[in-house]
Subunit: 401 residues, 2 copies
């Protein structure tokens, strides 16, 4: 009988979102009249913008005609998309990238997991707590040693460079789940740590489109020296509502190096390229045309409106919490608000209260790690109407408590 | 400095298709008047069929409206697509699968590589020679021991169960690159081997749509006992022209088991499910709607016409080779024809002759493995016109030799 990868037995049994879904389904069945408002899953609700829709319709038409039909494309992505990324996501912030430093993929979830393929399992990985579960799970599957970087109220939910050595560090900013952002100064400290320790930063910038604070960089490569110590992951999911359309990109600078056990150096860009062209066959042409449309004048205008729509929800949520005297984080550079549960409730106690008393679904912070105990994540991705109703329910319930 | 995965250094340096592209580009530059006909890369040339186009246009429209917009879908794929797969790809052949035994993905290239994640690196893997390079490369990246199963003229390019033990066996039928198919009897022998040895068969059925011989099964699960020893990979790439649209599915029966080093048994379906939901976020909604349209009455009719178009090319190629007295394989249940190079030429000698004398690009068999030396792969995916011109050039050149 085939031998399994035994690391899978070390994974957490129960899924956070599966457990939430079960509790929700049970409540809905017992209370069919309840109007449950979902602020839990980090999924967008606005449709794709018109510029993207038009581009994809044209692309579908091209696929109907042999003269314009596209079969296999370059696995790393079409140049028409990579050129736009280089221009608007990097050159606009003073960063010059080569075409072959960008790798288009179907998602940062895939990339932040698959990047591990090119690294030895002997590397020690530093991962924040609380955190997006994929970083922990994929390194557990690989069998790497994980050391946690606590993010908590004391450090404003911004993990600090540790005293100890790590070979690989995951950072996510703007952060999922806490909504906190690493300032320019904080990122400079992290780059300094990485250069000092010879560590590689895996920087998840999936939420960068929500940045409003001018002191928050839009790419880790705005920090001098970061090209030599960081890989950056970006996604169209939250920027342009592509959660069900699937497009992302990873930047691996050509100066970035790794070593073998004898100290010989190797290009991580060449290794990621090899992984990418061997285990992946590219993002659909239609989807890449849609993603490229995000960078046109109309596209940029339209997604800015969508982002402002969600930001308005975030402001309302944050404002409501401030008025209620709650402690909360995020919401200003992020679609997530990280609430300290009132009255010292645990995350799940607060989840149950919110579901049963207010018919609102959020995500218990402890599901993202031990440092999340006592916290609760709400998202700004719903409609204005539902967000307003949810906040009104909270005002009415908690003002009297 | 981060430690790399040193297995990457064991990979072959030069890419088969990169080398071909370079030679082609050099020739084209030196002979700009040459009308080069490409029969090398296994890429389709007919556009997506009308039923698929219509379905995708409707799906794009749905994504434009908040009421019908789709965000994150189930990572394993939408039930509307899995239901069609169960009905037309399995029930039609007497095979009953559960919904959760099917995993929709972006490609068999991804799946045949990523499946390795759930297995120990200690497994010995049997891989045919010649073969689609991904099986070799992905197992080399993982660090597994690979033992080759020779496919050659003596066995009609159908690898036979070996005398020795393997934990995992890759089989591809109809075969890339040789176009050979494993008959029902041959598959029964392989299933018997797997059951006897406790081996797991990874069965790549990407080309099953080209089967015409009624004695060739359309799924390995037509063989009794195969559910307990095989995972099957299928793809829309060649069936429906989705090489640039990206959709596939993998079946992992729930009875399939693996073990740990202590002999405890684990469900491979549960493990693949865990890998899939942790490292992947689903195929685009638009693409899944297109794939589902392949199974409608119109879709099935239209893809049958496209497949017949390519089959006509394959017949012409095979017929031409027969008339010229060449030895060739494939072409009757496959879009590939595997030609023994005349006059004992090596694969690359024949490649150069075909490019320089006839302006035809094919793929040197040695690029797929040592057993491919002296052979040459041609594809039936071109236009009728180009295929006819190419065959005429071959008749004129080789009839006089």
């Amino acid at each position: 009988m085939v031998l399994i990868n035994e690391n899978y037995n070390k994974l957490e049994e129960t899924y956070l979102f599966t457990r939430i879904a079960k509790k929700r389904a049970a409540y809905a069945e017992a209370h069919p009249e309840a109007e449950i408002i979902s602020m839990g899953i980090g999924d967008v609700t606005l449709p794709l913008c018109p510029a993207v829709i038009t581009a994809m319709q044209q692309a579908v038409q091209e696929m109907a005609d042999a003269a314009t039909f596209r079969g296999y494309g370059p696995e790393q992505g079409y140049t028409f998309l990579k050129d736009a990324i280089r221009e608007y996501d990097y050159r606009a912030y003073g960063i010059e990238l080569a075409d072959d430093e960008i790798f288009v993929s179907d998602g940062s979830k895939s990339d932040t997991g698959n990047i591990g393929d090119i690294f030895s399992v002997a590397n020690v990985v530093a991962i924040p707590d609380p955190v997006y579960p994929v970083y922990i799970d994929t390194n557990t599957m690989a069998g790497r040693e994980i050391k946690l970087l606590p993010a908590n109220e004391a450090n404003g939910f911004c993990p600090q460079p540790p005293e100890w050595h790590a070979d690989i560090v995951y950072l996510c900013s703007p952060n999922n789940p806490t909504g906190s952002v690493l300032s320019r100064a904080a990122l400079e400290e992290w780059v300094a740590y990485a250069r000092r320790e010879g560590a590689l930063i895996l920087f998840d910038a999936a939420y960068k489109a929500f940045i409003t604070d001018p002191d928050v960089p839009h790419s880790i490569y705005e920090i001098p020296g970061a090209m030599e110590c960081a890989i950056e992951f970006s996604s169209f999911s939250k920027t342009a509502g592509f959660t069900g359309t699937r497009c992302a990109f990873t930047v691996v600078p050509k100066v970035l190096k790794g070593r073998d056990s004898e100290g010989r150096e190797f290009s991580l860009n060449a290794m990621w390229n090899r992984r990418h062209i061997t285990k992946f066959n590219g993002v659909p042409y239609i989807v890449q045309k849609g993603a490229a449309a995000v960078y046109t004048d109309e596209g940029r205008q339209q997604i800015a409106e969508a982002l402002d729509y969600y930001r308005a929800n975030a402001r309302l949520i944050k404002q409501t919490f401030d008025e209620l005297g709650f402690t909360s984080f995020g919401g200003d550079n992020s679609p997530y608000i990280w609430l300290k549960a009132p009255n010292n409730m645990t995350s799940w106690e607060f989840f149950d209260l919110m579901l049963e008393e207010l018919n609102i679904i959020g995500t218990p912070g402890v599901g993202f790690g031990n440092q999340g105990e006592g916290y609760f994540r709400l998202t700004a991705f719903g409609s204005h109407e539902n967000t307003a109703i949810a906040m009104q329910r909270m005002r009415e319930y908690f003002s009297t408590k």
